[in-house]
Amino acid sequence: MPAKVYVITSGKGGVGKTTTTAHLGAALALRGHRVLLIDTDIGLRNLDLVMGLENRVVYDLVNVIEGVCEPHQAMIRDRMIKELYLIPAAQTRDKNAVTGQQIKSLCERLKSDFDFILIDSPAGIEQGFQNALAPADKAIVVTTPEVSAIRDADRVIGLIEAAALPAPQLILNRFRPSMVRRGDMMSIEDILSLLSVELLGVVPEDEHIIVSTNRGVPAVHNPKSISGEAYRRMAVRLEGLQVPFVELEVRDGLFSRFKKLVGFKARAGANA
Protein backbone atom coordinates (compact mmCIF):
# COMPACT_ATOMS: atom_id res chain seq x y z
CA MET A 1 0.00 0.00 0.00
CA PRO A 2 1.38 3.46 -0.83
CA ALA A 3 2.40 5.70 2.07
CA LYS A 4 -0.09 7.93 3.82
CA VAL A 5 1.14 11.51 3.77
CA TYR A 6 0.58 13.55 6.92
CA VAL A 7 1.39 17.23 7.39
CA ILE A 8 2.22 18.32 10.94
CA THR A 9 1.33 21.96 11.43
CA SER A 10 0.20 24.50 14.04
CA GLY A 11 0.00 28.07 12.82
CA LYS A 12 1.87 29.38 15.85
CA GLY A 13 5.59 28.79 16.13
CA GLY A 14 7.28 27.13 19.08
CA VAL A 15 4.46 24.78 20.06
CA GLY A 16 6.45 21.67 19.14
CA LYS A 17 5.85 20.77 15.49
CA THR A 18 9.40 19.62 14.87
CA THR A 19 9.65 17.68 18.12
CA THR A 20 6.31 16.07 17.36
CA THR A 21 7.40 15.09 13.84
CA ALA A 22 10.62 13.52 15.14
CA HIS A 23 8.87 11.62 17.94
CA LEU A 24 5.90 10.44 15.93
CA GLY A 25 8.16 9.35 13.09
CA ALA A 26 10.41 7.43 15.47
CA ALA A 27 7.42 5.83 17.21
CA LEU A 28 5.95 4.67 13.89
CA ALA A 29 9.28 3.31 12.69
CA LEU A 30 9.76 1.46 15.99
CA ARG A 31 6.53 -0.34 15.20
CA GLY A 32 8.06 -1.60 11.99
CA HIS A 33 6.75 0.95 9.52
CA ARG A 34 8.88 2.47 6.80
CA VAL A 35 8.83 6.19 7.61
CA LEU A 36 10.08 9.23 5.71
CA LEU A 37 10.22 12.66 7.38
CA ILE A 38 10.44 15.76 5.20
CA ASP A 39 11.44 19.08 6.76
CA THR A 40 9.78 21.84 4.72
CA ASP A 41 10.84 24.68 7.01
CA ILE A 42 13.24 26.02 4.41
CA GLY A 43 15.67 28.56 5.85
CA LEU A 44 15.03 27.40 9.43
CA ARG A 45 16.15 23.78 9.30
CA ASN A 46 15.80 21.99 12.64
CA LEU A 47 14.38 18.49 12.28
CA ASP A 48 17.90 17.14 11.56
CA LEU A 49 19.13 18.68 14.81
CA VAL A 50 16.28 17.34 16.94
CA MET A 51 16.92 13.86 15.51
CA GLY A 52 20.68 14.07 16.02
CA LEU A 53 21.40 13.84 12.29
CA GLU A 54 22.81 17.34 11.72
CA ASN A 55 26.29 16.07 10.87
CA ARG A 56 25.05 13.81 8.11
CA VAL A 57 23.32 16.40 5.97
CA VAL A 58 24.81 16.44 2.48
CA TYR A 59 21.88 17.23 0.20
CA ASP A 60 18.57 18.87 1.09
CA LEU A 61 14.99 19.21 -0.12
CA VAL A 62 15.76 22.09 -2.48
CA ASN A 63 18.61 20.07 -4.05
CA VAL A 64 16.16 17.23 -4.71
CA ILE A 65 13.51 19.53 -6.16
CA GLU A 66 16.04 21.29 -8.38
CA GLY A 67 17.38 17.96 -9.62
CA VAL A 68 20.86 18.45 -8.15
CA CYS A 69 20.60 14.97 -6.62
CA GLU A 70 18.29 11.97 -6.54
CA PRO A 71 15.80 11.77 -3.61
CA HIS A 72 17.58 8.76 -2.08
CA GLN A 73 20.85 10.71 -1.99
CA ALA A 74 19.22 13.35 0.22
CA MET A 75 17.63 10.81 2.58
CA ILE A 76 19.48 10.50 5.87
CA ARG A 77 18.98 7.24 7.68
CA ASP A 78 18.29 7.43 11.41
CA ARG A 79 21.12 6.35 13.70
CA MET A 80 19.01 3.95 15.73
CA ILE A 81 15.92 2.96 13.81
CA LYS A 82 16.35 1.08 10.58
CA GLU A 83 13.38 2.21 8.52
CA LEU A 84 13.39 5.89 9.48
CA TYR A 85 14.64 8.47 6.96
CA LEU A 86 14.86 12.24 6.82
CA ILE A 87 15.01 14.66 3.92
CA PRO A 88 16.29 17.87 5.57
CA ALA A 89 15.25 21.39 4.62
CA ALA A 90 17.68 23.75 2.93
CA GLN A 91 19.16 26.24 5.35
CA THR A 92 20.34 28.95 2.96
CA ARG A 93 17.24 29.36 0.81
CA ASP A 94 13.71 30.62 1.50
CA LYS A 95 10.15 29.33 1.28
CA ASN A 96 9.84 30.39 -2.36
CA ALA A 97 12.61 28.00 -3.45
CA VAL A 98 9.98 25.26 -3.85
CA THR A 99 6.29 25.03 -4.74
CA GLY A 100 3.58 22.88 -3.21
CA GLN A 101 3.19 21.07 -6.52
CA GLN A 102 6.88 20.11 -6.53
CA ILE A 103 6.72 18.66 -3.01
CA LYS A 104 3.55 16.86 -3.99
CA SER A 105 5.21 15.28 -7.02
CA LEU A 106 8.16 14.24 -4.87
CA CYS A 107 5.83 12.56 -2.36
CA GLU A 108 3.97 10.79 -5.17
CA ARG A 109 7.28 9.47 -6.42
CA LEU A 110 8.32 8.17 -2.99
CA LYS A 111 4.97 6.89 -1.76
CA SER A 112 5.54 3.32 -2.88
CA ASP A 113 8.75 3.02 -0.82
CA PHE A 114 7.20 4.02 2.51
CA ASP A 115 4.22 3.40 4.81
CA PHE A 116 4.17 6.91 6.29
CA ILE A 117 5.49 10.24 5.04
CA LEU A 118 5.40 12.98 7.70
CA ILE A 119 5.85 16.56 6.58
CA ASP A 120 7.11 19.06 9.14
CA SER A 121 5.46 22.37 8.25
CA PRO A 122 6.89 25.80 8.99
CA ALA A 123 4.97 28.12 11.32
CA GLY A 124 2.58 30.62 9.81
CA ILE A 125 -0.12 30.32 7.18
CA GLU A 126 1.78 31.67 4.18
CA GLN A 127 3.61 30.05 1.28
CA GLY A 128 5.67 27.65 3.42
CA PHE A 129 2.56 26.29 5.10
CA GLN A 130 0.76 25.96 1.76
CA ASN A 131 3.77 24.05 0.36
CA ALA A 132 3.64 21.61 3.27
CA LEU A 133 -0.13 21.19 2.96
CA ALA A 134 -0.17 20.50 -0.80
CA PRO A 135 1.04 16.87 -0.74
CA ALA A 136 -0.85 15.84 2.42
CA ASP A 137 -3.66 13.28 2.60
CA LYS A 138 -4.33 14.19 6.22
CA ALA A 139 -3.25 16.86 8.70
CA ILE A 140 -2.17 16.75 12.33
CA VAL A 141 -2.45 20.04 14.23
CA VAL A 142 -0.20 20.62 17.23
CA THR A 143 -1.18 23.09 19.91
CA THR A 144 -0.40 23.94 23.53
CA PRO A 145 -3.00 24.93 26.15
CA GLU A 146 -2.43 28.65 25.63
CA VAL A 147 -4.92 31.11 24.19
CA SER A 148 -2.63 32.25 21.38
CA ALA A 149 -1.72 28.72 20.27
CA ILE A 150 -5.36 27.63 20.31
CA ARG A 151 -6.55 30.60 18.33
CA ASP A 152 -3.88 29.96 15.69
CA ALA A 153 -4.74 26.26 15.66
CA ASP A 154 -8.36 27.16 14.95
CA ARG A 155 -7.28 29.32 12.04
CA VAL A 156 -5.13 26.53 10.62
CA ILE A 157 -7.94 23.99 11.03
CA GLY A 158 -10.14 26.32 8.97
CA LEU A 159 -7.48 26.49 6.24
CA ILE A 160 -7.06 22.71 6.24
CA GLU A 161 -10.77 22.23 5.79
CA ALA A 162 -10.82 24.90 3.08
CA ALA A 163 -8.14 22.87 1.27
CA ALA A 164 -10.65 19.99 1.16
CA LEU A 165 -8.56 17.75 3.41
CA PRO A 166 -10.34 15.50 5.91
CA ALA A 167 -10.87 16.98 9.39
CA PRO A 168 -7.47 17.15 11.11
CA GLN A 169 -6.52 15.41 14.34
CA LEU A 170 -5.12 17.34 17.30
CA ILE A 171 -2.04 16.79 19.43
CA LEU A 172 -2.19 18.73 22.67
CA ASN A 173 1.39 19.42 23.70
CA ARG A 174 2.95 20.55 27.01
CA PHE A 175 -0.18 19.78 28.95
CA ARG A 176 0.01 20.24 32.73
CA PRO A 177 -2.59 18.24 34.65
CA SER A 178 -1.62 19.88 37.95
CA MET A 179 -2.54 23.30 36.55
CA VAL A 180 -5.88 22.00 35.29
CA ARG A 181 -6.56 20.57 38.73
CA ARG A 182 -6.19 23.96 40.35
CA GLY A 183 -8.22 25.63 37.59
CA ASP A 184 -5.42 27.51 35.89
CA MET A 185 -5.37 25.60 32.63
CA MET A 186 -8.11 24.67 30.20
CA SER A 187 -9.01 21.01 30.33
CA ILE A 188 -8.56 18.65 27.38
CA GLU A 189 -12.36 18.58 26.94
CA ASP A 190 -12.52 22.39 26.90
CA ILE A 191 -9.90 22.60 24.16
CA LEU A 192 -11.43 19.84 22.04
CA SER A 193 -14.85 21.43 22.25
CA LEU A 194 -13.49 24.88 21.36
CA LEU A 195 -11.70 23.56 18.30
CA SER A 196 -14.24 20.81 17.52
CA VAL A 197 -11.58 18.32 16.46
CA GLU A 198 -10.68 14.74 17.20
CA LEU A 199 -7.83 14.10 19.63
CA LEU A 200 -4.79 12.13 18.45
CA GLY A 201 -2.84 12.46 21.68
CA VAL A 202 -1.89 14.50 24.72
CA VAL A 203 1.76 15.09 25.56
CA PRO A 204 2.34 16.22 29.12
CA GLU A 205 5.04 18.75 29.90
CA ASP A 206 8.02 16.49 30.37
CA GLU A 207 11.68 17.24 31.09
CA HIS A 208 12.61 14.11 29.16
CA ILE A 209 11.71 15.97 25.95
CA ILE A 210 14.27 18.70 26.63
CA VAL A 211 16.90 16.09 27.47
CA SER A 212 15.99 14.14 24.37
CA THR A 213 16.33 17.14 22.04
CA ASN A 214 19.60 18.11 23.77
CA ARG A 215 20.95 14.69 22.88
CA GLY A 216 19.20 14.26 19.54
CA VAL A 217 17.56 11.05 20.75
CA PRO A 218 13.74 11.00 20.67
CA ALA A 219 12.10 10.25 24.03
CA VAL A 220 10.23 7.31 22.50
CA HIS A 221 13.42 5.33 23.18
CA ASN A 222 13.12 6.09 26.90
CA PRO A 223 10.72 3.67 28.60
CA LYS A 224 10.51 5.99 31.63
CA SER A 225 9.31 9.01 29.66
CA ILE A 226 5.56 9.56 29.86
CA SER A 227 5.66 11.75 26.75
CA GLY A 228 7.56 9.02 24.93
CA GLU A 229 4.73 6.68 25.86
CA ALA A 230 2.19 9.26 24.62
CA TYR A 231 3.88 9.30 21.19
CA ARG A 232 4.09 5.49 21.08
CA ARG A 233 0.33 5.34 21.58
CA MET A 234 -0.30 7.97 18.91
CA ALA A 235 1.62 5.77 16.49
CA VAL A 236 -0.78 2.93 17.29
CA ARG A 237 -3.75 5.26 16.69
CA LEU A 238 -2.34 6.27 13.31
CA GLU A 239 -2.53 2.58 12.38
CA GLY A 240 -6.26 2.90 12.97
CA LEU A 241 -6.27 1.01 16.27
CA GLN A 242 -7.84 2.16 19.51
CA VAL A 243 -5.65 2.54 22.56
CA PRO A 244 -6.34 4.34 25.85
CA PHE A 245 -4.76 7.74 26.49
CA VAL A 246 -1.81 7.87 28.87
CA GLU A 247 -2.68 8.23 32.52
CA LEU A 248 -1.52 11.75 33.27
CA GLU A 249 -2.23 11.83 36.96
CA VAL A 250 0.54 9.38 37.87
CA ARG A 251 3.04 12.21 37.58
CA ASP A 252 2.50 13.31 41.17
CA GLY A 253 5.59 12.66 43.21
CA LEU A 254 5.53 10.72 46.46
CA PHE A 255 5.75 13.96 48.41
CA SER A 256 2.70 15.64 46.84
CA ARG A 257 0.73 12.41 47.14
CA PHE A 258 1.64 12.35 50.84
CA LYS A 259 0.59 16.00 51.19
CA LYS A 260 -2.76 15.19 49.60
CA LEU A 261 -3.15 12.23 51.88
CA VAL A 262 -2.71 14.35 54.97
CA GLY A 263 -5.00 17.04 53.58
CA PHE A 264 -2.68 19.80 52.39
CA LYS A 265 -3.81 21.48 49.22
CA ALA A 266 -1.02 21.53 46.69
CA ARG A 267 0.26 25.10 46.48
CA ALA A 268 0.47 26.86 43.15
CA GLY A 269 3.69 25.82 41.47
CA ALA A 270 4.59 23.25 44.09
CA ASN A 271 3.95 20.29 41.83
CA ALA A 272 3.80 21.97 38.45
Binding site: V147, R151, D154, M185, M186, L194
Partner: protein
Amino acid sequence: MSVSRQEPAPTLSGFRRLLNRLFGREEGSGDEARQRLQLVLIQDRSSLSAASLDAIKDEIIRVVSKYLVVDRDSIWVEVKRSSDAVMLVSNMRITQVR
Protein backbone atom coordinates in the same frame (compact mmCIF):
# COMPACT_ATOMS: atom_id res chain seq x y z
CA MET B 1 -21.47 55.67 19.01
CA SER B 2 -19.17 53.06 17.63
CA VAL B 3 -17.86 50.42 19.99
CA SER B 4 -14.40 49.06 19.47
CA ARG B 5 -14.22 45.47 18.24
CA GLN B 6 -11.55 44.66 20.76
CA GLU B 7 -13.77 45.68 23.63
CA PRO B 8 -13.55 42.98 26.28
CA ALA B 9 -17.04 42.49 27.64
CA PRO B 10 -16.48 40.36 30.68
CA THR B 11 -19.82 41.02 32.37
CA LEU B 12 -20.53 37.34 32.99
CA SER B 13 -17.05 36.40 34.08
CA GLY B 14 -16.96 39.63 36.10
CA PHE B 15 -20.07 38.51 37.93
CA ARG B 16 -18.59 35.10 38.52
CA ARG B 17 -15.43 36.71 39.80
CA LEU B 18 -17.51 38.79 42.22
CA LEU B 19 -19.28 35.66 43.46
CA ASN B 20 -15.98 33.91 43.86
CA ARG B 21 -14.61 36.84 45.81
CA LEU B 22 -17.69 36.88 48.05
CA PHE B 23 -17.22 33.23 48.82
CA GLY B 24 -13.50 33.64 49.19
CA ARG B 25 -12.79 31.38 46.24
CA GLU B 26 -9.96 32.10 43.88
CA GLU B 27 -11.05 31.99 40.27
CA GLY B 28 -9.07 29.74 37.98
CA SER B 29 -7.69 31.47 34.94
CA GLY B 30 -8.42 28.38 32.83
CA ASP B 31 -12.11 29.14 32.79
CA GLU B 32 -11.46 32.70 31.81
CA ALA B 33 -9.24 31.52 28.96
CA ARG B 34 -11.99 29.23 27.72
CA GLN B 35 -14.62 31.95 27.78
CA ARG B 36 -12.43 34.48 26.03
CA LEU B 37 -11.42 31.98 23.38
CA GLN B 38 -15.00 30.91 22.81
CA LEU B 39 -15.91 34.41 21.73
CA VAL B 40 -12.78 35.22 19.80
CA LEU B 41 -13.00 31.99 17.80
CA ILE B 42 -16.60 32.65 16.77
CA GLN B 43 -15.55 36.10 15.70
CA ASP B 44 -12.54 34.78 13.78
CA ARG B 45 -14.65 32.18 12.04
CA SER B 46 -17.35 34.66 11.06
CA SER B 47 -15.00 37.42 10.11
CA LEU B 48 -16.33 39.26 7.13
CA SER B 49 -14.21 41.04 4.59
CA ALA B 50 -14.50 44.81 4.36
CA ALA B 51 -16.15 44.32 0.97
CA SER B 52 -18.86 42.05 2.44
CA LEU B 53 -19.50 44.54 5.23
CA ASP B 54 -19.90 47.31 2.65
CA ALA B 55 -22.30 45.15 0.66
CA ILE B 56 -24.35 44.41 3.80
CA LYS B 57 -24.40 48.12 4.58
CA ASP B 58 -25.68 49.01 1.09
CA GLU B 59 -28.43 46.41 1.23
CA ILE B 60 -29.57 47.45 4.69
CA ILE B 61 -29.85 51.02 3.49
CA ARG B 62 -31.81 49.87 0.45
CA VAL B 63 -34.32 47.92 2.59
CA VAL B 64 -34.68 50.51 5.36
CA SER B 65 -35.08 53.34 2.82
CA LYS B 66 -38.36 51.81 1.68
CA TYR B 67 -39.87 52.81 5.00
CA LEU B 68 -37.70 55.53 6.47
CA VAL B 69 -35.44 58.29 5.34
CA VAL B 70 -32.04 57.67 6.82
CA ASP B 71 -28.82 59.60 6.82
CA ARG B 72 -26.65 57.47 4.54
CA ASP B 73 -23.44 58.81 6.04
CA SER B 74 -24.44 57.93 9.58
CA ILE B 75 -24.74 54.15 9.09
CA TRP B 76 -22.22 51.76 10.52
CA VAL B 77 -22.23 47.99 10.53
CA GLU B 78 -19.88 45.73 12.46
CA VAL B 79 -19.40 42.32 13.97
CA LYS B 80 -19.28 42.80 17.70
CA ARG B 81 -18.73 40.47 20.60
CA SER B 82 -20.59 40.75 23.85
CA SER B 83 -20.27 38.56 26.90
CA ASP B 84 -22.23 35.68 25.44
CA ALA B 85 -22.67 36.22 21.73
CA VAL B 86 -21.17 37.51 18.53
CA MET B 87 -23.53 39.93 16.86
CA LEU B 88 -23.91 41.85 13.68
CA VAL B 89 -24.76 45.36 14.84
CA SER B 90 -25.91 48.23 12.68
CA ASN B 91 -26.90 51.77 13.63
CA MET B 92 -28.14 54.62 11.50
CA ARG B 93 -29.78 57.99 12.00
CA ILE B 94 -33.39 58.39 10.92
CA THR B 95 -34.03 61.80 9.47
CA GLN B 96 -37.66 61.39 8.50
CA VAL B 97 -40.49 58.84 8.54
CA ARG B 98 -41.96 58.35 5.07
